[in-house]
């Protein structure tokens, strides 16, 4: 490689680091900053949850967080711990809150067992049909991004799908729920570890 080539690679690497380290967020001046106090006890002020069962909101596409809040508030997605807060966020302004978290940098994934990640990668083919190979999802089809979500949270959602306890009876989710019934319980943790490890 030429010196120039090395420099370009180096600059590209630096740009990548800056892209991760410097979010397009105005922090406390963001109109959603104080409104997000309703979420921060569990999700962190910047949405960078560090608990295995609490989803990361940082970098979550605004359309998806908005949908989640609306579904929690209406009871369509039943969750005793989320419903009251979702109603609060709707009152405060869900767009501001969703945009605020979307602008925060995604944290590095929590540590995972590499063997579980590898088993999950192999087993993830059926998921990839909708969510993509690495789990990035497809906003155009309303398919959420799974990457970097804590493994415990992903596993819990799979169990809720399987038992039809997440958005019960929702026709657009019948395929994913049918798929979950074909996956052995032991494999849930591997799948969760794989998508949790992706960025």
């Amino acid at each position: 490689m030429t010196n120039r080539g090395r420099t370009l690679v180096g600059l590209a690497g630096l740009a990548l680091i800056l892209a991760i380290a410097a979010p397009a967020s105005t922090g406390p001046k963001d109109p959603g900053y104080a409104k997000a106090f309703s979420c921060s006890a569990c999700h962190g002020w910047d949405g960078a949850s560090r608990a295995d069962t609490v989803p990361v909101l940082a970098g979550m596409p605004a359309w998806y967080l908005k949908k989640a809040i609306q579904d929690y508030a209406s009871g369509k997605r039943p969750a005793a711990e989320m419903e009251p807060y979702a109603k609060m966020v709707l009152e405060l302004g869900v767009d501001d809150v969703a945009n605020y978290f979307a602008r925060q940098p995604k944290p590095a994934p929590l540590a995972a067992d590499p063997a579980a990640v590898e088993r999950g990668r192999v087993a993830a083919a059926p998921c990839a049909v909708c969510h993509g190979t690495t789990g990035k999802g497809d906003p155009a089809k309303g398919v959420p991004d799974l990457t970097g979500q804590p493994a415990g949270y992903l596993r819990n959602q799979m169990l809720l799908f399987k038992a039809d306890k997440r958005s019960p009876g929702e026709p657009t989710l019948s395929a994913v729920k049918a798929l979950m019934k074909t996956i052995p319980d032991a494999q849930y943790a591997d799948l969760a570890a794989y998508f949790a490890s992706q960025r």
Binding site: V54, P84, N156
Partner: protein
């Protein structure tokens, strides 16, 4: 109690604001020992409210200097500390340092504030003082020991274990040392007190421990209130697993006799114990009383619902368990919420701007066994400048999944306070 002197024990138990200075303060702390060079917020108390407020002032405006006064060098979480009594968790797993706050630029002085001078905007610390632009007081609760005859004289023979720390560990030890067949007596004060569901969670944890380790023992709960004051139906359901609980409502304890090993209720009923745990009646932390921040009841502090500024003294804000008048419980989640909302208001006020009206949130998880938990969730709004509740919701029963969520909540909120 073998390796710790009584004085050290009491000090680390947080009994009496000001004892942290008993060992003398640094010689440098005389006069204006840290002259103010720009806008400054002083925070009194590094618990759930104060530590959160200190961090969020720095997050909101790094140009504001923040000094946190907290005598204890470590933060011990009250939430989850009932699990230390049942042996499910260690106190070490609930103990954290303040390094994270320092990384946000909070200056921590491990001394107690001894007085507040609102007129000159000074906080006294030993022989010196600190100047402030805005003061955030988060002193927690103090016990009204004088309300129960014999309690003050009993000293460490009667434990509250209502401020997590050495008393929690010692009460767990006494429970473990109690012979099978022994009687554990837990007394609950009248509301308002810190953590409304806490005594009933403690009931579950002690009963769970006895059921598995001392099956011939029983737990007598003497509650000053007419009924379980929080999550009543859920606790009643949980207690079906514990026939060893003898719950007696409207049984306010007014006397403890360590010689006879018995407590007496206001109706004269005497109850013998092998191990006793008296949770005394409470009021705001001593500094709030001394600084005339409490209301006519001489117990709790009234505040503005948007800024948490004291209704009695300008530029002095009060948060956490020592406040009253908002329709919120004295919970860790609420103290954390008040900490960030108050911090944001203070940042706005120092910057000459109108603070936004942000409502608090609440969730109280209660552990009913070693693995299962349940919760009450509250959402609020601000209406006409006052906090009002939008909704209260209970989890549909208890479960291990809610236990997982309770752990997730704890890890997250500890990080929100200290990380």
């Amino acid at each position: 109690m073998t390796t710790m002197s009584r004085r050290a024990f009491l000090r680390s138990s947080g009994v009496g604001v000001g004892l942290g200075l008993a060992g003398g303060c640094a010689p440098a702390m005389k006069g204006d020992f840290a002259p103010k060079r720009g806008p400054r917020v002083v925070v009194i108390g590094g618990g759930w409210g104060g530590a959160t407020a200190a961090k969020y002032v720095r997050l909101g405006d790094p140009a504001i200097e923040v000094i946190l006064l907290e005598p204890n060098k470590q933060f011990v979480s009250c939430p989850l500390s009932n699990l230390v009594l049942s042996g499910v968790r260690s106190i070490d797993s609930l103990t954290f340092g303040y390094r994270g706050l320092r990384s946000h630029g909070v200056r921590i002085i491990h001394e107690a504030a001894t007085a507040i001078e609102p007129d000159t905007k000074r906080v006294r610390v030993g022989e010196g003082y600190l100047q402030y632009d805005r003061l955030i007081v988060s002193p927690g609760i103090e016990f009204q020991t004088e309300q129960i005859a014999g309690l003050a004289e009993a000293g460490d023979q009667v434990l509250h274990a209502w401020k997590a720390g050495p008393q929690t560990v010692e009460l767990a030890r006494r429970l473990q040392a109690m012979p099978d067949g022994g009687v554990f007596v837990l007394t609950i004060p009248p509301i308002a007190y810190r953590c409304p569901p806490g005594p009933y969670e403690r009931t579950c944890q002690v009963a769970w421990y006895l059921k598995h380790n001392k099956p011939r023992s029983k737990l007598i709960v003497l509650d000053a209130n007419q009924n379980i004051v929080s999550k009543t139906g859920l606790f009643r359901a949980a207690w079906r697993d514990y026939p060893n609980i003898d719950y007696r409502a409207s049984s306010k304890v007014v006397k403890v006799d360590t010689g006879a090993r018995e407590v007496t209720t206001e109706f004269g009923d005497r109850v013998k114990y092998d191990v006793v745990n008296v949770i005394p009646p409470q009021r705001a932390g001593t500094i709030a009383v001394q600084a005339d921040l409490v209301g006519a009841d001489k117990r709790w502090c009234q505040v503005d619902h948007v800024t948490y500024e004291s209704v009695k003294h300008k530029a002095v804000h009060v948060i956490g368990d020592s406040t009253i008048g908002l329709p919120v419980p004295k919970s860790g989640t609420v103290a954390n919420a008040m900490g960030k909302i108050c911090a944001n208001a203070v940042v706005h006020l120092i910057g000459g701007k109108q603070p936004p009206a942000m409502p608090p949130v609440n969730v109280c998880y209660s552990w009913v066994s070693d693995k299962e938990a349940m919760a009450v969730i509250n959402a609020y709004r601000i209406e006409g400048g006052k906090v009002v509740q939008i909704e209260q919701k209970l989890t549909p029963g208890q479960s291990q999944a809610f236990g997982q969520n309770a752990l997730g909540w704890a890890r997250s909120i500890w990080n929100d306070i200290l990380g």
